[in-house]
Amino acid sequence: MLTAATIGTILVVAGTITYFQYFAKRRLIISTTTSLYDTGLLEEIEKNYEATHNVDINIISAGTGIAIQHAQNGDADVILVHSPSMEKTFLEQGYGLNRKIIAYNFFTIVGPDADPARISRRNATEAFKSIVAYGESLSDQSGQTKVWVSRGDNSGTHSKEQSLWKAAGYNYTLISAEPWYASVGSGMGDTLNIANQKSAYTLSDIGTYLKFWKEGTISLTALLIEEKSLLNVYSVMAVNQTVPANQTLHSQINYVDAMEFIHYLVSDETQQFIENYGKTDYGQSLFYGAVQPLRDNAPQPLVKWIQDSAFFDGYECPPQYRNGYPELYT
């Protein structure tokens, strides 16, 4: 009885594993921020890539914080993220290699059409001050009425929100404890839905916002204009196979395919594809390619903005964090 069960168990496990191994192509696991995934851009890139490469791309969509965590555990081969400060730590700790800035767009504060805090067309600092003033002026301070909804999930957007509060002169810990402040610990889509439901304000990347707005899921309005402090820079990094601290952990990383994918992302065709994505549906680009303007060192202020907010020691990837592939940085 027991023997039969043991043999049966082994057969089923072995059979299942063989079944999946048999069908499996080489895997490239990409851990990514929700905005690139929820807008559908990354899936389109995946389709194009898989059509021409013999690789199975597996996308894990989570916030930047979780994406970085996955990579540190050796559970991802490539990360696509948008939080320069977290990226810097990631590189310094030896986990990431060959960073390339691939795209940018802008964050915006979205809120109810009536705009009760009157933040429309103001800059980010003024907008945050108005929101605080409005929150404090509410008669209901029981925590039932929410004015601000935060991702609260350690994502790139959440980290941007924290730095914007700081730039506006607030202590984030104190602000997040205010009764009118809601932290939802969820992706951008969920956060937008919640803000919509509560007629509250939230910080969103423009891409996810436009997709939800266009589909009629939310009726919030984008209230801020594009400015330097709201710049949102996306970059890609390969996960290091040889982390000095832990050799065995990362030996299975698919570095070769990761680098091929990075080359694909920075190629002219893909950059053009990113720029065109969603243009017909939304009337504007959701993301803009960053490779060409940075390579040309174009005189427009945008290049300076990217360099100021997302470069480390004057480089998009300082030389000590590069490994081969010099053509990426010429």
Binding site: M1, L2, A5, G8, T9, V12, V13, T16, I17, F20, I29, T34, Y37, D38, G40, E43, D56, N58, I59, I60, S61, N73, G74, D75, S186, G187, G189, D190, N193, K211, F212, E215, G216, T217, I218, S219, N246, L249, H250, Q252
Partner: protein, 239 residues
């Protein structure tokens, strides 16, 4: 806000036209849960037999242990399994994280307590005389055990159905160890979560309808079976 009726209409259209994305997800859900229950059955039934047929010290504690694990939050189990399957974890060398195998093993572990608990109750409810009778008639220990299992078959089947129900409706394990990768490890529950989050509500509603139909059918089977007194053994307490 999205028109709910319009969403349902579009969802039904997706179901009728046989949308490949939709049916891929349904297929994976059924397949993963099915194999998971098969696995749990293979290692759970012998354990249930041991607990149900033998008297030993600590039997109550062991039964209580499995009973309390029935309600384990799937997301907690998912977290534990993520740490186990992660490349730095004890089973990282198997490279199972974010593969169907991880979901199948995870769901098998998840449903094991429910399977063992129901099967044990069914086995205990069998008249102990049957075991003795079989032995008197010259059956070996394992042949006698099989005779008991035959008597308890309805309860054992119910344990499998209930396990399948739990496996197909759970979210936490599949999300954390499967990674919700489109076309590979997304199943009904995780895909509903993804499409809702992405604002693609038609697909989410369609998947929701299918999941509800599956769960409803399973429960109908259980209820009908109970009514037909097929599963009378469950109502009776042991001894």
């Amino acid at each position: 806000m999205v028109d709910i009726l319009e969403g349902i209409a579009k969802a039904i259209q997706l179901i009728i036209t046989g949308d490949p994305t939709l049916y891929g997800i349904v297929y994976r859900s059924l397949f993963f849960s099915g194999i998971a229950v098969l696995l749990a059955m293979l290692w759970g039934t012998p354990i249930a037999m041991l607990i149900g047929l033998r008297d030993f010290r600590g039997k109550t504690i062991i039964k209580g242990f499995f009973n309390s694990l029935i309600g384990i939050p799937t997301v907690v189990l998912g977290l534990v399994l993520y740490l186990v399957f992660s490349k730095g974890g004890p089973l990282g060398f198997l490279q199972l994280l974010y593969t169907p195998g991880a979901i199948i093993l995870g769901e098998a572990v998840l449903v094991t307590p429910i399977l063992i608990s129901i099967a044990t109750t069914a086995i205990e409810a069998v008249d102990p005389e049957i075991m003795n009778l079989a032995k008197t008639l010259g059956a070996s220990e394992s042949q006698a055990a099989i005779a008991v299992l035959k008597e308890a078959i309805n309860g054992v089947l119910l344990s499998n159905i209930a396990s399948f129900n739990r496996a197909i409706a759970e979210l936490g394990v599949a999300l954390l160890v499967g990674g919700n990768i489109a076309g590979l490890t997304d199943i009904l529950t995780t895909a509903i979560s993804r499409y809702t989050q992405r604002g693609e509500l038609d697909l989410a509603i369609a998947l929701g309808i299918i999941l509800m139909v599956i769960v409803f059918l399973i429960n109908m089977i259980i209820i009908t079976a109970r009514k037909a007194k097929m599963l009378f053994t469950l109502g009776r307490s042991p001894q």
